[in-house]
Amino acid sequence: MSGRRKLAGWGRYPVLDARLYQPRDVADVQDLVQRQPGLIARGNGRAYGDSAVNADSTIDMRLLNRMLAFDAERGQLVAEAGVLLGDIIAAFLPRGWFPMVTPGTKFVTLGGAIAADVHGKNHHRDGSFRSCVDWIEVMGADGRITRCSADQDPQLFTHTLGGMGLTGIVIRAALRLRPVQTGWIRQVGHPAANLAAAMEIFETSADATYSVAWIDCLGTGSQLGRSLVMLGEHAVPADLSPEAAEDPLRPPAKGKRTVPFDFPRLALNRWTVRAFNALYYRAGVRNAGAQVVDWDSYFYPLDALQRWNRIYGRQGFAQFQCVLPLARSEAGLTALLQAIAQAGAGSFLAVLKRFGAQNSPFSFPMEGYTLALDFPVTSRTLALLDRLDAIAVANGGRFYLAKDSRMSASTLRASDDRAIAFARMRAEQGWDGRFHSHQSERLSL
């Protein structure tokens, strides 16, 4: 049930020596919590950095993965923390339900989605994951399980959402699903010549259910922030081809591919990135306009390529994701994109998204724009990431801990004045003595 091994997050950086436990039931988890001096829960390891790693004891929650009850009146599912979002979709989409909020991969656990308080392409309308969570059962340092919600122990509830596993171990939760008529999305792509044009589209599309933009990070000058903004709506049967409308909730399954080995570093240099970006942009412009795509291709394009994190090679990669307040977004994003273009460090995945308002003790989102990009880990890109941190901080921005693998404690404190309050809360509640990750230690949380 346990063993020492190398553990990392999705970015495969940093790689750490850790002891991993695989509890099979609640009693096993209780036993671990009572026996281990310090520990952290781990879901499906999709956070990029070291937030789900504790060298002494990392608790793999994936065997606690039972769905326990479903109330079809309210669309409320009660499930254990290790259930994957993808399993929920597999079970409930055929019956007309879809997650209310989903990140860009379906391979996350319910516990991981709660701990990171994840956001989706609908944040501007529906908020973060917390807006579909009715209650959570959390195991505390004493091994006791407390059910919390907005009304019952709201302190624990609101800090557990976004608390990155640092408030205890999520055992079970109740979440509300969204009724849908089909498993298809009506997508419209809008090319934007530069950042201002992209932001303009976001600002005028506030009523779209889903919106996200892919940015070509290598555009410069008047083309800085050149992007493709994608809007989406759940399709109704009338939107579908006659063939698809026959069984609207079951789009044909897609094939899976796997990246079989680590790419050599040179596969991913500036030129390949540039070519990729140019091609992607042109293909996007060509396909702009309306399209109906299946849920899997729309929400989870990367999931079709399993273990794609290996294309960055053995050294791994890091993601930069910040959010800037609305008033500072255009200036801040411009400075960030300029710094990236200057460094010539292209990124395969640069994503821009408008967040709606959110006010919570330690969750990432706030009203404004969030930018996310991947970089292979090298000394050069690590230096660039430090520069990007400084630009974001100077523009009132803060960082997403689910993506972070290298920020310093002082950067966190400079970017987010809630960090001190969160650390104080941890001390007051006695959470800090027991629940910590490599990340929480790095960030002095």
Partner: protein, 245 residues
């Protein structure tokens, strides 16, 4: 068309549960039979929710042979497929010291499973259809110092299944013998098993569902165990008795 129900004897076993999931995914109603079956309610809910099938729980003790007929009568219907995952690894050293412990292992792996299959076989024969799946073990292919009490009981069960298959072959009733090597389950959780030879329960469950569909007689999981056991069976006794396996 509604699919026939699948009865899992030993419904708490990891292999049994994985088999239940494999059949539920195909749309079969599931009957989980176990001691203190009410405690399996979360599993019941999970299988029913994921696969949108009817799942029911039934108390069952393989050693209480007197109650087997009443147990079968109490099921909602006579199952189309019955899988026996009941078993007890036992503690070999304890079995050497204490013959009562040895008898318990033998009864749990052979006598009890053979008894319930005798009754099911007769009911299936009368109906003229059905599939019986017995989970035995590669341990039954040759007795070894480290687990011969368990192994001998599995050997008896394997022979029983083979005979039952022979008897029912012309009666529309099929019998599948499952011979797992190592499987990562509760039974083996504290053992250090070689990864390449160790199957996950889900793998075994999927293999069983496939074997039933294809009317296979004997399957090894993982398949490499067929080769390993062929070699082990063929070591001359003179040499084998001096080996430590």
């Amino acid at each position: 068309m509604t699919k026939p129900s699948v009865l899992i004897l030993g419904g708490r076993s990891d292999i049994g549960l994985a088999t239940a999931r494999a059949f539920a995914a195909q749309g079969h109603p599931i009957r989980l039979a176990a001691r203190q079956s009410a405690l399996l309610d979360p599993e019941r809910a999970d299988i029913a929710l994921r696969h949108d099938v009817d799942v029911t729980l039934h108390d069952f003790d393989v050693l209480a042979t007197d109650s087997h007929a009443a147990f079968l009568d109490s099921l909602p219907d006579l199952p189309g497929i019955a899988v026996c995952a009941v078993g007890a690894g036992g503690d070999q050293e304890e079995s050497e010291r204490d013959s009562d412990a040895a008898v318990q292992v033998m009864r749990t792996n052979f006598e009890g499973p053979a008894a319930i299959f005798t009754q099911l076989a007769n009911r299936f024969e009368t109906r003229g259809s059905g599939t019986l799946v017995g989970i035995s073990s590669v341990a039954g292919e040759r007795g070894r110092a480290t687990n011969y009490v368990y192994g001998s009981a599995k050997a008896g069960y394997t022979a029983f299944l083979s005979g039952l298959r022979n008897r029912l072959a012309s009666k529309g009733v099929h019998v599948v013998t499952v011979l797992p090597g190592f499987v990562a389950t509760r039974m083996t959780r504290d053992m250090d098993l070689p990864a390449a030879l160790t199957a996950q329960p889900a793998e075994v469950g999927a293999a069983i569902a496939k074997a039933v569909a294809r009317r296979k007689d004997v399957i090894y999981t993982r398949p490499v165990w067929r080769l390993i056991m062929m070699i082990i069976r063929n070591i001359p006794e003179k040499i084998f008795k001096g080996m430590r396996l």
